[in-house]
């Protein structure tokens, strides 16, 4: 009997000593500041605050803006990984919220929209954090408008990443031809799913319960 129990005890001991698998969440919020969409950044603050209220100790968050060329750390407004102690994490959340609000107060519109660059930066951030659950929130009309010379027709490695497009507003041209809007969303869905990610669209910002 003892000999039978020994392997079980060894297995349990090894399981206990094995490096723990991550349980944290990595969140990257992209905020479109280009053109007329810059008027919506106040709504983005609501998303950031909601996200902060849902995150726990050990989770990571970064908020970045979508600019003319977004594949750069310069466009990251703020990033943090919450402390082990929940009370310290609370303090970090408050400070983070203040910094993001301060930035959004002085946000200026960008001439171009580089969503792909922002997503590449998000993938890099999430991979560095080695989060168990990776999520990218894109607060944009999803209309990519690249400046001349920027190459963005590259595949995205979004394996295990949830991509959520928030507040995807309709442009004037979409009103004339809705196929443009639907085609835009379908194109992004295809891009994300080809990269191994999971795509969702949430336009009702009053009901964010399904976000996490």
């Amino acid at each position: 009997m003892k000999l039978r129990l020994l392997p079980l005890a060894v297995a349990l001991g090894m399981a206990a000593c094995a490096p723990p698998s991550p349980h944290n969440t990595g969140l990257y919020i992209l905020i479109d500041t280009s053109g007329s969409y810059n008027n919506n950044v106040r709504k983005a603050e609501q998303i950031v605050l909601y996200s902060l209220s849902r995150l726990q100790s050990g989770d990571s968050i970064a908020v970045a803006r979508i600019n003319t060329g977004s594949f750069t750390e310069k466009d990251i407004i703020d990033e943090t990984t919450f402390d082990d102690q929940p009370s310290t994490a609370d303090l970090q959340k408050r400070a983070f919220a203040t910094r993001v609000a301060s930035f959004l107060d002085h946000s200026s519109p960008a001439p171009y929209t580089d969503i792909t660059g922002g997503m590449l930066q998000a993938i890099e951030f999430l991979n560095e954090k080695q989060s168990a659950h990776k999520e990218i929130l894109v607060f944009s009309d999803m209309d990519q408008d690249l400046a001349k010379g920027y190459v963005r027709n590259i595949p995205l490695d979004l394996k295990g990443v949830d991509v959520v497009a928030l507040n995807v507003t309709k442009l004037h041209s979409d009103n004339i031809d809705p196929r443009l809007y639907l085609g835009r969303l379908a194109k992004w869905q295809s891009t994300v799913e080809k990269g191994g990610g999971h795509w969702r669209v949430i336009n009702d910002l009053d009901d964010l319960h399904g976000l996490f």
């Binding site: 944290n24 605050l49 209220s53 726990q56 100790s57 050990g58 082990d84 609370d90 959340k93």
Partner: protein, 484 residues
Amino acid sequence: MFSTSLFGFTPWPVVSAAILLVLVVAGLYFARDTAHQAIRAAAGALARALRVASHSVHKAQEHLAARNRAVLLAAGREAKERIVEREFVRAGDTVRKDLAGYPEMHRRLSGAILRMEEDQEKAVEVPPEAPGWTQAVKAVANLDARNAGAEILADIHKSMVKAHAEAMDSYREASAKRHSLLRGMMPEWRLIRHTLERVNKSVESVIERSQAIDRHMTEYEAIVRGEDRAVSVLSSSSIVYFFISALVLAVATAGAAINFTLISRPMAEMVGGTNFVGMFRTADIAALVIIMVEISMGLFLMESLRITRLFPVIGALTDKMRVRMIVVTFAILLMMAGIEAGLAYMRELLLQDDLATNALLRNDSTASIVNAHLWITTAAQMGMGFVLPFALVFVAIPLETFVHSLRTVMGLIAIAALRVLALILRILGNGVRHLGVLAERLYDLPLFLPLWLESRAAAGAAPGAVAGIGSAGREPESLQEYHS
């Protein structure tokens, strides 16, 4: 395709089918005995196997029942010994207490009786002195009056009146004294009555204890003799104890869950909220460990107090060592209770902090208003944090009952399961046997014509034989073989 080729060996499919049918029936008829033997052998083997299995299961059930009975009797004997021992101790205490007061009681009773005897002697009524003048007066009265008898009589009369008055005074004085003595005996009577009442009460208590001991001894003897009634009583008691202790343990588990909720959140501050051991948060495990340590300390405390008997080693310790264990375990419990109260207070602070942060993140200004009666919930949480560890100490009592009754209940369940299994195997065995007979009959069904012809031929050859379709004469033989 297959049917076409099958019925195509003659130009007429119907003829082909008829020929095939005849061939098949003939084949089946000639192979009938062999086929019957095969069916009989297969069904018989299977039935025998099932019957053996049923028998084995039945034996196992009997063995388990005997084992269960022995365990139940042993447990009952031990429990009864404890009860009888306790009753003897109580009776001994009562007798010792009364006997210790007996010399004093005897002295008081003797003193009271002596005093009463003395008073009684003093109170004896002294009859008034008989008047000695009566005869003298009579003699003088018979004298001649001329001899101046009248004067003598007058003097005597005067003296008599005087003596009478004196005697009456003396009598009244003696009576008053006697009444006074009798009145003085009343407290002594009361003292004797109270003392005797106390003695009566003690004797009645001893009699009650002895009756209880008699009753327990009768039950104990029944258990020692292994009577069925004793086993039945012990068994039903075990089931009742099992459900009651399970209910109390469920309540205790709920208490432990509340305790866990109180301390798990602040434990995250101490050991971190992001560490995991396997699938579980380290903070949750730490909180659970604290509760388990409290329950363990409670078990040791109860063992040291000899309220429970789960660990014979603790029960066998010397009294000095046991007292030390009681002090140590109680001190640890007290410390744990203090820690829990502190954690409960910390939890309230952390919750307030969380609420404030969430209110800020929701832009909710109303949530930041501090409740004036918040101290009540804080105090309640701290009180619960302090009291629950001590409440969990008493889990040891239902746990002991649960563990002891679990053995019996599991045994009873296992016996019932084995009994059902044996029954199922037996039914299956019988079913297989009858299926064998049914298979033989089904085999004979397409052969009704040759069998009928055979029976006719047999009837013609041996008049008086039973006629009928199939080998009806062989049926009893077949069944007999099966039943054997």
